[in-house]
């Protein structure tokens, strides 16, 4: 296949970026999208140019590192996958593909397609944990039976990989889906209840401090989330937040 690429190049956080065009030939459908970029980079290096930098690690859709905006959509055209799971068979010979970094005020560009998503870490640090000592003096695990349905829902919320696609998809760059997934995981478990009030208040406060926008219930986040994190989590977080505000 022949593919025309337009890629965002930006030297560092302070430089101005621009779109640069590349043409690639001999692309096979079995290649993953990132492998296609590997091939491009090998060509650039052999020509003495600087390769395109992009974030990636596991290349199997679980670490949440890859973060490409492909043809205007986070992680590209297919649903329920990350950019590393996208394969070139999703494109046709002669297609033009635009590749940009995830864009949001809270995700500043570091270089080319790499952005800084450490704001997500700080939201977690604000309360995304259960305050249990790591001494190993806990009760037997089966002493806390948990209804399967709640355990499953908690698990589904916990499958969020922290990729940031929800933020990139949102016209307000809101981090509600991510934050609500974290809040939900604990809200559905008996272990974390004691500190639930502080947790939701602190995490939401941190989310706002980081410069993420407000949620206007557009739902674009849910559509683009590679892990199918549902909007129900946002509703659950809002309930938690409301009851916490009343208490607090």
């Amino acid at each position: 296949m022949k593919i025309y690429l337009k890629i965002w190049r930006q030297k560092d956080a302070t430089s101005k970026g621009q779109m640069v065009k590349y043409t690639m030939d001999g692309i096979e459908g079995d290649m993953s999208f990132l492998e296609m970029l590997d091939v491009l980079n090998e060509e650039l290096i052999s020509k003495g140019e600087e390769p395109v930098e992009f974030d990636h690690d596991c290349r199997e859709g679980i670490c949440g590192t890859c973060s490409l905006q492909i043809n205007g959509r986070p992680h590209g055209p297919d649903t329920l996958i990350t950019a590393c799971q996208l394969h070139m068979r999703s494109f046709k010979d002669g297609d033009s593909i635009t590749i940009e970094p995830f864009r949001a005020k809270a995700f500043p560009v570091i270089k080319d397609l790499i952005v800084d998503r450490s704001a997500f870490d700080r939201i977690q640090q604000a309360g995304g944990y259960i305050s249990v000592n790591t001494s190993g003096n806990t009760v037997d695990a089966n002493a806390i039976p948990i209804e399967k349905e709640n355990a499953d829902d908690s698990f589904y919320a916990a499958t969020c990989i922290g990729c940031g696609a929800c933020v990139a998809a949102c016209k307000n760059a809101s981090a509600m889906l991510f934050t609500s997934a974290k809040v939900s995981q604990f809200a559905l478990l008996p272990q974390g209840r004691v500190e639930a009030t502080d947790r939701v208040m602190n995490m939401v406060r941190q989310m706002d401090l980081e410069g993420f926008g407000n949620c206007t219930n557009t739902g674009a986040c849910e559509v683009e989330c590679p892990k199918g994190i549902s909007l129900e989590n946002i509703a659950r977080m809002n309930r938690e937040y409301l009851s916490a505000s009343i208490k607090g």
Binding site: E35, I45, G48, E53, G64, S131, A151, I161
Partner: protein, 667 residues
């Protein structure tokens, strides 16, 4: 043998750990505040260690090369984590878990360590549940279990096919709590490039800020290496792209012995290689072997027709299929350990029975399980005479609930629906049992330098059973290191802050900078990947699933030549004082080019077959691994002496006081 003192405590096996904990020196909480510890790596091992050390009161600095600790490679673990809880009442016990693990490792691990691992395993599950890790549960609200290769009990706890992710998020959350308290400072997008020794003790590291390129000095009273495995030296593997040996290798160069480098696990159920541009291999969790049956065609003609696309696997009659694992190993069947399953697959493919275009794939078939589950479900839902379609649909739903994300992953990569047609799988490099040599306290041969998780060599022997790496990482991090390190640090309560202005830091920083400059100054003929792929091919062809003397000798000279070529001709664009992914890769591949040679040397030295190390010269008439306990019942610990060819071998003899060494049989 003085240098390799394993420090295994005396006394009965089941009491060693308790006695040891009772006798080691403690550090007063007020003094812990004056002690700094560096943890390199935030996977399960490093993350849990950092959180616990901080909890105890030490000041901790963590490092990882990813943008967030949560993205460490542990995240990718799919299948599960073992613990001898005996919740299923199927006869499990600490002793059985210990026994299975020792046997699985082909009697090349340290008895006392493995027993301790089994002993603390139950604690891990309690701890993780308390932290909110959402393990799979049964309808009654209790935890669910499944089974993994090499064992006959159900002791594996799991969270669908994402166990590693959930466990890591647990450790990450524990870290976050300490970051919030100010007890951990987390340095992300930072890579450790060297270890700093003062008076022979580990006292700090040199790290590169991967965003700015700045070289930084960090001091501490002790350094913990938790940097994961080095399987990426094969280029194609199930590891994440950034996995490397740098931290461990730099430590080795500073004097830490490197143990059993050739013990590498090849995992039997990975998605086969599809083309030249492939960058990594994807694992299909071993837990699939609970329900999937492995087969190839019985007749060569059928295999050929399948490869040419003239015959579909689903069209092949039951009697024309060779369920070779069930045939060869009736007791364990599809659940034999990984090394056994991998070799059996290679044997069939080498004999011409492979089922994909390249002839390097076997089938993993779920149709029997779908029918079995579907029928059961139909009955329990009151459908006494269900038609085939209903059975299939119900069965697929059950399989979906157990392994859904793995099936989805497979379909994305291969573009075939594994519910309808059997998966194709082939072995791939997956885990390195070798690593930094550590004693019972997890200390390397450098005082004050510890190693936990996959980056150390301990516990797994020559082969690792499924679901035991996560267990070891968390055992080391939550429950072992935080105790044992106190014994060492109790001597440091009066040391005070360690200055990074010392000459030792100057020297290490200078060495690091020179190395970076050297990497940038190659003649520029070939990219880093060019070398990495060449190295990977040598490793896979000559040091892979089976090895022989001739190939290993060749590998040694080829790797050494490739290394020389690399340093002269590698092309690294950009500059060293900015973000530069090619430079990052170059530094990692440079180290792979050294450990690769030591790997081959270690394999050549070990004239026996055991676990993942299969020497063609040493096998039984049936093609099973032939161990030589008389001569090779030791840990091979290599001392750095310059070029890998000069490395010096030290042997830690393994003493088995409590179990009898047996031939490993799964028949």
């Amino acid at each position: 043998m003085g240098i390799l003192d394993s420090k295994v405590p005396k006394g009965p096996l089941a009491e060693k750990w308790t006695n040891h904990k009772n006798s080691i020196d403690l550090v007063n909480p007020a003094n812990k505040r004056n002690i700094d510890v560096i943890v390199v790596g935030t996977g399960l091992a490093g993350g849990s260690a950092a959180a616990t050390l901080a909890e105890l009161g030490y000041n901790v600095k963590t490092f990882c090369y990813q943008d967030s600790p949560r993205r460490a490679h542990s995240i990718a673990a799919q299948g599960g984590i073992n613990a001898s809880k005996n919740y299923q009442g199927d006869g499990d016990s600490d002793y059985r878990l210990f026994y299975d693990t020792i046997k699985g490792g082909d009697y090349r691990s340290r008895e006392a360590n493995v027993y301790r691992l089994a002993e603390v395993s139950t604690n891990i599950i309690d701890q993780c549940v308390a932290q909110g890790v959402p393990f799979a549960r049964e309808y009654g609200g209790l935890l669910d279990n499944r089974s993994f290769g090499g064992v006959l009990v159900s002791r594996t706890f799991y969270a669908k096919g994402q166990t590693g992710q959930q466990l890591l998020l647990g450790a990450y959350a524990a870290m976050n709590r300490q970051i919030q308290r100010g007890k951990i400072r987390s340095f992300t997008r930072h890579e450790m490039l060297d270890l700093v020794l003062i008076d022979g003790k580990a006292r700090g590291i040199i790290a590169r800020n991967l965003v700015t390129g700045e070289i930084e000095r960090h001091s501490a009273h002790a350094v913990v290496i938790a940097s994961g495995g080095y399987g990426n030296l094969f280029f194609l593997s199930t590891y994440c792209m950034g996995a490397n040996v740098m931290a461990a290798w730099r430590t080795h160069r500073r004097g830490a012995f490197f143990a059993n480098p050739c013990f590498t696990q090849i995992h039997p159920t990975c998605i086969p290689v599809s083309g030249d541009h492939q960058s990594k291999l994807t694992l299909m969790s071993e837990s699939l072997r609970n329900d999937g049956r492995i087969w190839v065609p019985k007749n060569l003609d059928d295999a050929k027709a399948i490869r040419e696309g003239k015959l579909k696997p689903t069209e092949l009659k039951e009697e024309d299929r060779d369920y070779y694992l069930e045939r060869r190993y009736p007791a364990f069947g599809n659940l034999v350990p990984r090394d056994v399953a991998s070799r059996a697959a290679k044997e069939r493919c080498d004999a011409g029975y492979g089922v994909n275009k390249t002839g390097e794939a076997v089938y993993l078939d779920f149709s029997a399980a779908i029918t079995r589950y579907g029928t059961e479900k139909a009955y329990t839902s009151g459908l006494k005479d269900p038609d085939a379609d209903t059975v299939r649909r119900l069965g697929e739903e059950i399989i979906e609930s157990k392994y859904g994300n793995l099936f989805q992953m497979y379909e994305k990569i291969v573009d075939q629906n594994p519910y309808k047609t059997p998966m194709m799988i082939y072995p791939a490099v997956h885990y390195t049992m070798g690593g930094l040599w550590v004693d019972y306290n997890l200390q390397t041969t450098i005082p004050g330098c510890y190693s936990v998780g996959e980056s150390n060599f301990s516990d797994h022997g020559a082969n690792r059973l499924g679901a035991s790496a996560l267990m070891q990482g968390l055992a080391d991090g939550y429950f072992v290191l935080p105790y044992t390190i106190g014994d060492y640090l109790s001597n440091d309560i009066r040391t005070g802050k360690i200055s990074t202005e010392r000459a030792e830091f100057d020297e290490a920083e200078k060495a690091v900078k020179e190395r970076l400059e050297k990497l940038m100054s190659g003649k520029g003929l070939h990219s880093v990947d060019y070398y990495h792929k060449k190295l990977g091919k040598i490793m896979w062809d000559k040091c892979g699933m089976s090895r022989n003397e001739k190939d290993l000798k060749q590998a040694i000279s080829e790797i050494s030549a490739l290394r020389k070529d690399f340093w002269e001709n590698v092309k690294v664009p950009g500059t060293a004082n900015s973000k530069n992914q090619e430079l990052e890769k170059a530094g990692r591949v440079a180290d792979f080019l050294e450990i690769g040679e030591l790997f081959a040397k270690d394999a050549l030295e070990r004239n026996e077959s055991c676990g993942g190390h299969f020497r063609e010269e040493y096998q039984t008439p049936e093609g099973e691994a032939l161990r030589d306990d008389e001569n090779y019942k030791y840990v091979a610990a290599w001392e750095y002496k310059g070029e890998p060819k000069d490395a010096k071998l030290h042997k830690e003899e393994l003493a088995y006081e409590f179990i009898e060494l047996k031939t490993r049989s799964y028949k």
